[in-house]
Symmetry: D2
Subunit: 294 residues, 4 copies
């Protein structure tokens, strides 16, 4: 079995790395906050002291980090893992970053003799634990095919999208729908409430209609229960929508609806809702329309 | 069984009236274009020459018309059906109109001694034929309860939302999600295409994710096949989004996302896409972003 | 001199009617709140008890009312002034209403044997008092030419725009710029403040640049002084922006920027700023961005 | 007199550098395309072969470049001018870049022992030639005061806004108004045209109203004449509006109107209008609304 390294053991990375270990791959991990590596040690993983050490022990290095700055710190520079001599090593970055940043990372990887795939995921902590994520992959097709075994330990649906940057672009396009469904659900519910409707039957109408998705079903629950504990923190979606807007700017794609969604999430975060679930955009809209909520 | 009248035998009204006939209710129908009444005559319905004649023959009058002007013409004035002496007759309007217009119609009905329900539907021609529409009802609860038999002939899900105008408000809130899902899907697909992704795998990613709804699944099909034959004409959605914006204006509800969607549909219609399916908003966005489509 | 009638003696109508009186035209006035007619009586005007009485005494009837409902009440029905026998009388409506409503009023007027001009104004209470309004006129050109004397008593700039409804359309287009300048000034000032800039030098930069207009100069003053006493109440601009959106919907004109402005004013009004000056949109945006203002 | 260096001799930089020369300051210039340096040589300037040579000859180095990448290439690295030993040299960057990039440049400058001012300008090529630009300055106040002589050779209005990045922030806020005035003028004119109004009288109404600015007056001329020769290329405004959106994202400022403007300029550029004047956004909107223009 391939020796695998994993850097970034957060809410998503932790369970994903655990599935690698459970899949029987010899695993070396690194996390800035070392405490988060302990559950992996319990599964038999080796815990490295530095990113470069992960690379030295592994044929494949997986990263799952919060943004491009974290990636640059782990990968580049004399301390970065790319500095490790690496004939034909493979870096699989599963973070959600801009396609331009995926290509920047790929160029750095290639220059250092590595192969690179961008492979962000669809699905939140539940599917991450169950190894049932969707994984959208950009890079050379042969490299993708050669890594099916590793990727399959984490995901049940693997998609090959095209050259480097294609995985992260597909992820942004998918998240565009997440953001729009959340914001439009919030508008519909506030419009209903301001017109005097009870939200429970309104939610039932939506849930039994042709527009319901698994996401909408869950988020109706959040709104009806007034439960905004973060499954997906609003500030992360704000970051992602900003990446969509940048991508639209650079690729010459007009995104009028997403432009409005971006400003909504900016306002929600500016008003202190960043740590709550993205469903808290309902609270921002309710407030904006003078609706008293409980 | 109650004697039922039905006015407005279009794409939706025709199959809905047919289900009333099949349900065993003695039925009288009227349509401005009389040819459309013939299939109902074949089912045993009486074809009236004037709206007032429908009312004279019926205890319950159902209308399914395109807009408030059509409603006013059928209901009001010396020729309108409300002029019929009507102790305790019931008018069920199933058209999609503004809540304010539902209340205007209800006031006219009440003044003429009628009861009134606004009861627009969720679902398109398929569910209409099968009698499996969702029906959102506003008006007095007892009147709604008393009409369950008639409504159940057309719909499998009946919802009581509240006083007059509540049914049409719920319908607008639901359609807000339809319009937003269509427009955001179009943005996601154009963003993907402009970035060089093939739309078939992108569509597959979406279809197997948590944002997929029956609507999105169908509309991905429309885009991939380049098939814009109208299941729901874009011009009708443009009208409906305009009603949402009016409702937001009147009720003091900020709808920034829907405001953007409104302008998109206005542009799409202005550029000649009104008679195509609402999925044609993809063509508008593709054009707007300089994407050559085939 | 022509005998002139004037209906609607509010903040704008009062001083406009006074200029008619000062211009030497025999004047009959009506206002629902009769107290507001007293200053006109002091200038020699006759005060009528009913709209119809104004028409009976006058060759030209001017209206300056808040919306189309007020117009309909004054003009139509058995009590309305149009009922007066009127071979070749002229109605000049100077209210800001939708072009479609101007045409509706014109049709009613023509049916009653009257001529009609729609002639809304540019400028606020200052120019109204000085007789220096801009007046945008729609209707038949000969009727416009024949009323230059009356219009010149109120305005220094007369514009002939085209057939009935053209005056109110031009007014909406002009007000679109007022609304956009106010909203964009508010965004610029909040963006500056959130980035740590003092607003006084920022205001000076704008005032000495190529984007300054008389409006922007005044509104910078409002923001710097925190003075939101209504020169033009925000709720009236909200109404006007709603008319622009309706006009765009009906005429097939995409107005993405104005669509956003509409939602901003809706939110500002929903949050209780309707009676303040339209400059209070700055307060809404500051709040929306989490800026503490004093 | 101080010895001054000037890097970047484009449409704006060329005439600005010429005014430095005419002001009697010993001048050294550099431009990647050396041909553009010839007019400065004719005014007595020394033409350097490399950026570092400019710094070696000068106490003050001015840059006027198209974006942050150009700045980084000129300033940083072993070939960059900051590498020159520089006790107390001053770098004045007059480019329009993001405030965050101004601070990045300032940090690099300070680390190299330089002082730094960000000092972008208000006004186009006319004021640049006449030395009548507005100049918005961020940085230490004493450094600003010490450079008044140099800045006054180029500008008639000098503004001190605050610490590093304040000048470029003020510039973005000012340009926000430029972009909004242009886009709203385009919407107003298209709304007028679609409603049947002639644009010449509509333009006159605006020009004689309280919303007219020098910018609006000029741009009405562009639209009426169908003249879109670039005074300010649309693609540059697209870049600037993108910077505003980024700044709003980072500083937590909701910019709904500017968000819409951003998408409009993206569409205009995507449809091939980038090299035309920013007034060409009128053509995009006209097309979007199905208006045939000549």
């Amino acid at each position: 079995m391939k020796r695998v390294g994993f850097i970034g053991l957060g809410l998503m990375g932790g369970p994903m790395a655990a599935n690698i270990a459970r899949g029987g791959f010899p695993l070396t991990v690194f996390n800035r906050d070392a405490a988060k590596a302990e559950p992996l040690r319990a599964l038999g993983a080796r815990v490295a002291a530095r990113p470069a050490e992960v690379a030295a022990e592994s044929e494949v290095v997986i990263t799952m980090l919060s943004d491009v700055n974290a990636l640059r710190q782990m990968a580049n520079g004399p301390q970065g893992f790319l500095a490790t001599a690496a004939p034909s090593k493979v870096w699989i970055d599963m973070s959600t970053v801009a396609p331009a940043h995926s290509r920047e990372m790929a160029a750095a990887a290639n220059a250092a003799g590595w192969h690179m795939l961008d492979a962000p995921v669809s699905g939140s902590t539940g599917p991450a634990k169950e190894g049932k994520l969707g994984i959208m992959v950009g890079g050379e097709r042969e490299i993708f095919e050669a890594q099916r075994d590793v990727l399959s330990a984490m995901g049940s649906h693997l998609y090959y999208l095209g050259p480097q940057g294609s995985g992260t672009l597909a992820k942004l396009c998918l998240n565009l729908l997440v953001a729009a469904q959340m914001a439009s659900l919030a508008e519909a519910m506030v419009l209903a409430a301001k017109g005097g409707l009870d939200l429970a039957p309104m939610g039932q109408v939506i849930r039994e209609s042709g527009v319901v998705s698994a996401l909408i079903d869950r988020k109706i629950g959040n709104i009806l229960e007034g439960n905004y504990a973060a499954a997906f923190p609003l500030k992360h979606m704000h970051k992602d929508v900003g990446l969509m807007i940048d991508q639209g700017h650079l690729s010459g794609t007009a995104l009028p609806l997403t432009g409005s969604v971006h400003q909504l999430f900016t306002a929600a975060r500016a008003r202190g809702l960043g740590e709550e679930d993205l469903a808290a955009v309902f609270k921002l809209l309710a407030e904006l329309s003078g609706l008293v909520t409980h």
